[in-house]
Amino acid sequence: MITLTAPAEDQFKAPSPDELFTFSPIINGVDWFTKPVLLALLSSVVVIWFCWAAFGSPKIVPRGVQNVAEYGYMFVRDQVARPFLGKDADRWMGLLVTLFFMVLLWNIMGVIPVVQFPVASHIAFPAVLAGSIYVLKVYLGIKHQGAVGYFKNMMFPPGLPKGIYLLLAPIEFLSNLIIAPFTHAVRLFANMFAGHMLLAFFSMVGFWFLFEKLTPLGAGVGVVGVIMTIIFTGFELFIQFLQAFLFAMLAAMYIGGSLHAEH
């Protein structure tokens, strides 16, 4: 009988979050400048360049970059902005398109070879985005419904029996002002974090059993690891797109909710 968790030198060890998500600074002495920060700056530059190249001098018959960008713009307008903002959709398209492209690029970084790190898997990045949307949401709500009206519409939805308001108002308050922005950020973060862990684990399995310790018995496991890596990379691409879409969609939903009181 053996203890199955006994640690040994030549045994497979799954990658831990610590070694996957902690980076040393790129330039010595500049502590904040690590790989995720570099990637985030890089993706900002790429998004700015992309939108500049596409819409800087738009042609009536789109070609090249403009074609791709217009496809993304149409997608955001029809799937995100119009259903939630209605006739105000065009005013908010700039923000929503930027958000969508930005988050999409952050996520796609996770499967681009060599780069291979989804920026959003450090919670600071989605938290800042969700926080700015939250500030915008509260500002718009107070501007369009009045300070008293906004909180009254939020905490006392019409159509409920009078006595129960005392019990339900705290739930509404906490749900709208604290839990909603929290889940907005955490949904993106958790998906990217888990996806990166999963990819790292399966590629580690493949690498370990096929290159480091090649044995007749282990080779099968290694092949399974490689196949799973390929499958999950495709799956990850889908999830990354979906999360970018959801992030923009929830932002549109919060903005729309602040512009018009719920009925």
Binding site: M1, T3, L4, T5
Partner: protein
Amino acid sequence: MSILAEVSGNVTAIGYGLAAIGPGIGVGIIFGQGVQAIARQPEAYGLIRQNMLLGFVLTEALALLGLVAPFIFQNI
């Protein structure tokens, strides 16, 4: 008795993992069947939507109960 296998770390995480299976399947069934029902009978949209949401709330409540169950049964 000798040890065959041992688990290190927090066991409650496994508990929540197990508790999330059921609601996960449930939410999938609710929305899957709901969308199918709407596709078959678009004119009953209001009624289907209402029941879909109700079923979703009740299932989701179970998933979230699983989240706090470790804290409730901490000293057992």
